[in-house]
Symmetry: C2
Subunit: 102 residues, 2 copies
DNA sequence: ACAGCATATCAGCATATGCTTATATATACA
DNA sequence: TGTATATATAAGCATATGCTGATATGCTGT
């Protein structure tokens, strides 16, 4: 269930980041400071219910919000109320950890 | 956190019922078929974060949505997308289990 | 083919969660 | 005061959840 998935603070922050950015697994790892395995498992849950979609670019897999999801409207309303996470992206850039291949 | 609380199907259904009705603990017990204790614990969680408020009427305590909650707007948006639970109230009435003390 | 990096999956563990039963508290009424 | 009803709290249990470390898979470049 979508609300249960968004009830986890890490997943909610991931979704907020994906609202404005495409991100790959290793970026989330750098941002959240948890294992690559944990990030991958969160993304799988989000993908399994169709909230995000993946887009492979070479060795990276970029995730983005799935705007075609049934729940997309609700998700956007919820994300509106979540504080911006853009500083985390800025921090990544500053550390030179942003993966942009595009 | 609000989303986590609403991520539980019982609590979400309780909130949907409270959208249109004031309900007491024993009504929820009849509706959901779980113990009085379990219902009471769900209500406590909802009350602790301010989503619902209580209103004692004699030996009953009636719960209702707390419209003054910071999260009330979000909650209403979410509840719009939850299927109506009004048949459950109708069922209660039919069984003569509705507690109305006006 | 091989090494290196990114990602996914598996197995196991600690904690959180939702439930139950038993008990305590609060109100109503005889 | 005593009994019945409604609700709250405490203790314990089974399952779910989120994490880690180890391993598998997939792509890249040599």
């Amino acid at each position: 269930m979508v609300l249960k998935l968004l009830g986890d603070k890490t997943r909610l922050a991931m979704m907020k980041l994906l609202e404005k950015n495409e991100c790959c697994v290793c970026e989330f790892v750098a941002i959240f400071g948890i294992s690559q395995s944990a990030i991958s498992q969160h993304l799988r849950k989000l993908r399994d219910v169709g909230l995000v979609k993946e887009n492979r670019k070479g060795q990276w897999i970029f995730y983005s919000l799935n705007k075609g999801s049934d729940m997309h409207g609700l998700v956007m309303k919820i994300l509106e109320l979540v504080p911006s996470q853009e500083e985390r992206i800025a921090e990544l850039e500053k550390q030179g950890l942003r993966v942009s291949c595009g």
